[in-house]
Every structure is written in structure tokens, then in C-alpha cells.
Amino acid sequence: MIELSELHKSFGAVEVLRGITANVTRGEVVCIIGPSGSGKSTILRCINGLEEYDGGTITIDGVRVDRTSPGIKTIRTEIAMVFQRFNLFPHRTALENVIEGPVYVKGVRREEALPRARELLSRVGLAAKADAYPAELSGGQMQRVAIARALAMQPKAILFDEPTSSLDPELVGEVLSVMRRLAEDGMTMVVVTHEIRFAQEVADRVLFLDHGKILEEGPARQVLSAPQHVRTQEFLKRVLRPI
């Protein structure tokens, strides 16, 4: 469904993506791991057209992603994104955050969007917080609202950009369990993460990225338990045994 071919991207003189070729099929959960600065987040941002890319192509169901074309808005309604810093709209309640996209972008009637939004909030365990403003929520709750907001667009796929990296450790679990349930429901997901155990349990496939290249990819168990590449081995050793 999502196809990347020979993707290149530079920020000034720094080449952050050096020929990424990968694809994500419907219903698949792909985790992208790798050291910081390896270009993981940039890949997601290119898929969603938040970032332009310099070479190669990205297509979604055959449609080329081009940040400057008018069609990008349609692609964005189909591919949702969950951010590291949540990026909820602080001036709107949890419920309003969730209906914002359906009502104002897709033109769904408010009366239709509201019950569906409530249902999504209860799906992420936040039915009671529908009328709370983001500032009244914990990080984990905010991220779950952000996931509900993404789901409200009824996307073909959701991109997660380090969804638990700015959470207190004790709040990580609640977000991961919501994501795990999404994966079980068959949602197509691309997850940039440092949560190796999550990747192990949930991912169908893992890509290991280093210096803008995919050094290793394969089924989660293979890449994470029996990495072939020495850099993958070193990285996993560092992440799993940080001290």
C-alpha cells in the first residue's frame, strides 16, 4: 500500500535519507528502529508530505506523494499521523480534537461525528475525559486522544512518530496497549519507536535504519532476536542493556 523507492532527502548538506526502498502492505505493522539521527522520523514525515523529498518516489495505493500538489490533502486524510509531542489542539476539548478532522476536513455532519468520536474515545479508554482540555490530561492520555483523533479520519494507515518518547515511563504502557489493540484489529501501522519489546510483540516486520539507509529488515523476531548486521547487534545491545 505504501511504497518507497530509492528515497533521498537532504537537509542542507546533510543527507539524512540515502536511498530508502521499502513497502508496507495492508494490515501490516512495520516498526522502524535505529539510532537517533538515522532518518527514521524523516521517512514518516515524507510519507505524510510534511517534508519534501529530493529523490526517489513515495506512492500510496499507486498515487505519488507530492507535498506541493493539491492531491496531498486527500492523501493526508487517508494516512493519519501520531506525533511524539501529541500536538493536540490545546484550545479544544478531547472530543473536539477528535471531531475536528471529520467535521471540518471531511465535511461529516456534527451529529454523526460526535457519537463516533465518543466511541473512539472510549476505545482508547478515555470516555470520561471527553470534555477535558489537553492541559488537564496526562501525557499518556493526550497521546491516546491523539490516536483517537487519527482514527476518526478512518485512515488507511497510521504513522506513529516515536509515540511514547516524550512520556513518563509509567505512562508508556497505556499508549502501547492501545496501539497493540489497533494492530490486532488489522490497522496498517508504521511505527518509529525505541520500544524494542513492543516491536518484538506487535510488529510484523522491523526495519533497522542507520545513517539514512536500511541496514537490515525482516520479520520482527529475526531482526530483533538474531540480527545479522553488526550495527544492528550493537544498537540492540545498547538499547536493551542501557547501562
Binding site: 490533502k73 493526508r76 486524510t77 500536538n87 484550545h91 471540518y104 489537553p134 492541559a135 483523533r149
Partner: protein, 219 residues
């Protein structure tokens, strides 16, 4: 003191006519400057290079010319170009245009203070630029813009006195006229100053209240 009070009773009704015009000029130009300022600011933060350039040029041109000269220009030069305005219209347009530059800078600062993540979240929902401005950026930016906006209101009230130079009989001109014909400068100008204070103190208090309220409401 009794003399002053006697003078006050005599001159206040005339000065109050001037107060009315001061209020008309102030709010007229406030409205115009807000609209124009918003247009310049949105052009400036738009993604169209040409619009940005136009906005920057306009704002800098306006900022670089004294308000007085702009007023004279609109009142005395425009008729030669075939546009004749009443003094009041010229004052409102002149002050409105002149202040639109400061309004624009304030609005732009407010818009640019919004976190980039907000824009990205809006974009990732598929929002167009205008929808994003309307639903996400401006509602948040207003909170940042309001305190400086209050200050602009106060400055505007005081700068409306410049309309006196193009014969708008607002408070300052009324005062000048009375003073120069009666030679009671002390009484008249004291009254004028008091009237300005009476008008600006509520504005100052309002701005202070607004700032406190926004502090509390900070989420």
C-alpha cells in the same frame, strides 16, 4: 480652583463634542487598522512569495513615514488625484492605514508564536492553509495578540489627536480653539488632558484585566 470649575462648566459641553469625534476617529481607525493589519499579516505568513514581498514592502513603507505626513498626504494630496475625502474620513483612513503596520507586526508575532507542531497536526489532518488558520492558528494566536492589541488601542486613542492637524474638530482641536480664543490655556488644556485620561484609564484597566484573565486561562 473655583475659577477652574467655573471654566469647566462653561467649556465641558463644547469639549464633549470633541470627545465624541475622538471616539469616532479612534474606533473607526481601530477597525480599519485591524482589518488591514490582519490582511498584511496573513499575506506575510502565507506560502506565496509574491504576497510576502508585497506585505513586507507595504508594512515597511507605512512604518517609515510619520503618521502626520500620511494624514497630510491623504487629506491634501489625494484630492489632486481625484479622491476627495472629508476631514473625518481622511483621519480614519490615515490613522487606520498608519496603524495597520503595527497591527500587522503584532498579528504576525502572534501567529508565528504558535508551535510548529500545531501546523503539522493540522496539515496531517488534511487541512488547507485557510482552514488551518481559521481553526487552529488564529484562535490560539489571539491570546498572544490581545495584550499588545490593548496597548495599540490606547496609543490609538492618543494619536487620534493628530486628526486635529487636518481640521477634524476632535478633543485636541476643540481645546486649542477654545484656549486660543479665551486665553484660558491652563483650564482648557487641563480639561483636555483629564478627558483623555478618563478615556484611556478604562482601556488601561481593560487591558490589565485581559492580561490577568489570559494568564489564568493559560492551559
Amino acid at each position: 480652583m473655583t475659577k477652574f470649575l467655573a471654566n469647566a462648566v462653561e467649556f465641558l459641553p463644547i469639549l464633549l463634542q470633541g470627545v465624541w469625534l475622538t471616539i469616532v476617529v479612534t474606533f473607526g481607525s481601530l477597525l480599519l487598522s485591524t482589518l488591514l493589519g490582519l490582511i498584511w499579516a496573513l499575506m506575510r505568513v502565507s506560502r506565496v512569495r509574491a504576497l510576502q514581498t508585497i506585505a513586507i514592502s507595504v508594512v515597511n513603507t507605512i512604518r517609515g513615514i510619520p503618521i502626520l505626513v500620511q494624514l497630510f498626504y491623504i487629506y491634501f494630496v489625494m484630492p489632486e488625484l481625484g479622491v476627495t475625502l472629508t476631514a473625518l474620513q481622511a483621519a480614519i483612513i490615515g490613522l487606520g492605514v498608519a496603524y495597520s503596520a503595527y497591527q500587522a507586526e503584532n498579528f504576525r508575532a502572534g501567529i508565528e508564536a504558535i508551535e510548529k507542531g500545531q501546523v503539522e497536526a493540522a496539515e496531517s489532518l488534511g487541512m488547507s492553509w485557510s482552514l488551518m488558520m481559521r481553526r487552529v492558528v488564529l484562535p490560539q494566536a489571539v491570546k498572544i495578540m490581545l495584550p499588545p492589541y490593548g496597548n495599540i488601542m490606547i496609543m490609538m486613542l492618543k494619536d487620534s489627536s493628530q486628526a486635529s492637524t487636518i481640521t477634524v474638530a476632535e478633543l485636541t482641536l476643540k481645546g486649542q480653539l477654545i484656549a486660543s480664543s479665551t486665553f484660558k490655556y491652563t483650564s482648557v488644556l487641563t480639561l483636555v488632558a483629564i478627558l483623555y485620561l478618563v478615556m484611556s484609564v478604562p482601556l488601561i484597566l481593560f487591558v490589565g484585566w485581559l492580561e490577568r484573565r489570559l494568564q489564568q486561562g493559560k492551559r
